[in-house]
Structure formats: C-alpha cells, structure tokens
Symmetry: C2
Subunit: 144 residues, 2 copies
Amino acid sequence: MISTRTSQPDVIAALEDAGLRITGQRRQVVAAIERRDGGFSAEDIAGELEGVGRATVYRTLKLLVKADVLCKLALPDGTPMYSPSRLEHHHHSVCTSCGAVEEFRDTTVERFLRSLTREIEGEIVGHRMEVFIRCLSCLGSSSS
Amino acid sequence: MISTRTSQPDVIAALEDAGLRITGQRRQVVAAIERRDGGFSAEDIAGELEGVGRATVYRTLKLLVKADVLCKLALPDGTPMYSPSRLEHHHHSVCTSCGAVEEFRDTTVERFLRSLTREIEGEIVGHRMEVFIRCLSCLGSSSS
DNA sequence: CTGATAGTTGATACTTACTATCAATAACTT
DNA sequence: AAGTTATTGATAGTAAGTATCAACTATCAG
C-alpha cells in the first residue's frame, strides 16, 4: 500500500517543527493548495487569495517546496507549475494539453541513479524528472 | 563508439534544410555556442555578441533547440541553462556549484519510459531529466 | 496578561528571461 | 538586378519572481 501524506494539520505541524510561525496567511496558502489537485501557478494562488500579498504567496510556496509538501515542476517550455505532493518519493507526468498532473512512484529511476553513481564523476545531489503526456481526455477530445 | 555531432557546417546545413535563411547573425550565434562547452545563459551569448541583437539571440537559440543541436536545461531553482548537444540521445548532469554540464547516454531511462507506457494512462510525448551533481573539482575545493 | 523580541507581511520597485511589434533590412529566387 | 519574403533590432511588454524595509504580529518570558 502506498503511503499518502499532506493533510492540512500535518503541513502546519511541519512548518512549526521547522521553527516557522503559523500565520493566517500561511494557513490560507496551505488550505488553497490542499484544495487543488492538478497543476497550478503561483499567480493562480495569489489571485485566489485576495487577502494575501503576492510576495507572501511566493515566499510561502517556496517554504512548502522546501518542506517537501509541494512540488515545483515545469512544462516543456520551462513555464513553472506547482503541484501538491502526496507520495513519499515520486515523479510527475504532466499533460501538455490540459496541465493535469499525476504523481507516480518509481523504482526504476532510483535504480538508474544508483547505476549512475558509478558512471558519473562527482557526487549526485539531486535530480529532476518529468514525463510529458497527452492524457486520455485530451486524446479523446482532440482533432488530430 | 559513441557518435558525436554538431560541427558548425552541419548545424548551418540543418538550418538550411529546415528552409531557414543563413544570416550572419545566425552564423555568429552558432559559432558562439560551438566555442562553449559547459552551460551558459542566453544573456552570456547576447553579451558576447555585441553586434547581434538580444531578440535575435533568443530567437536563434530557440531555433537551435528545436533543431536539436542545443539543449535547454534548468538548475534546481529553475534558472534556464543552455548546453550544446553532441550526443544523439542523452541526458545531463549539471554541477550545482560551477554549472559544468556533462552529457551522458542512457538506456535505463529509455527502459523506464517503456515500462511507464504500461503504467500511465495517456500517451507519452516527451520527458525531461536532469541529474544535479557536485563535480570533482568543486568537491575538492569545497570547505564543507 | 503584558511586554519584548524577532519572525512575517505587503507595497513597491527591481530583476531575469523572454516575447510581441513593426518598420527597415537582407537572403534567396528568377 | 529586382522582387519577394524571411529576418533583424529597437523598444516595450509579460511572466515569474526577489529585494527592501517599515509596519505588524506570533510566540516567549515573566
């Protein structure tokens, strides 16, 4: 069974544990991302939360990414997208038509990275992997 | 033996084949990226080529990426980096300290993608993968 | 509960990495 | 050589943030 995470109180607790203050604005941003499922932009959140300043939204998203409860990914052209993170260690598939994001766990990439450890000179400190797809509903409703 | 590509005349020929005009500016941009080896930014090139307009540099880099002779990658924070592409199908390791870029071919990722085809609903249309490292010289000269 | 203290906020201005516009220019075509 | 059409570059604009800093407020110590 796959472990899921990221219920709102947990996120708040994680921020507390990191020695950060629990402000109304941070609660609002956390609540806003909990409500979302696919990908979204920082401006989406900033627009939705009229009462929270843009700078605070960006700062909070950055905190949440660092706290590992939010993923920052990118479309093929580099446009950034955020997506709530619910699986422990995972990667993403992003539909290039509608922006739907799915998480998937994988072990193949982990195996791959272990084998790279032998090939690459230097120390591996991280990686990024995104798979771009056309999701079923976009395939279905497409003209081509 | 691994096939290498991207000698200057080839790139120019590729642009011609695509029905594009060979202008002095495009030659200059191609020459500039040929001279480089690690990662660089569009502004690096624009700064180096005083005689070529910024817009043209950006446009040409985009063409070269589409022509598959240049890769656009990103640092962990999303900052874009360009790197000349010399291997047929490859991924990159990027040193997060000095920005050095290495290309490596891989088959594991390809295998991984094939297995994903069975797991993922929808059609895989692309992927992005970057491995972030600390290269040997940065490890050597580091305080930590 | 009451300050004190130090982390947070938000308005604003700035930065980076581009993209759109459009008149002027230069490559290919014949 | 002339015409056609892609390309260029100056400029202005956009997207996604980040820096600044005075005002604010969570949290702690008493």
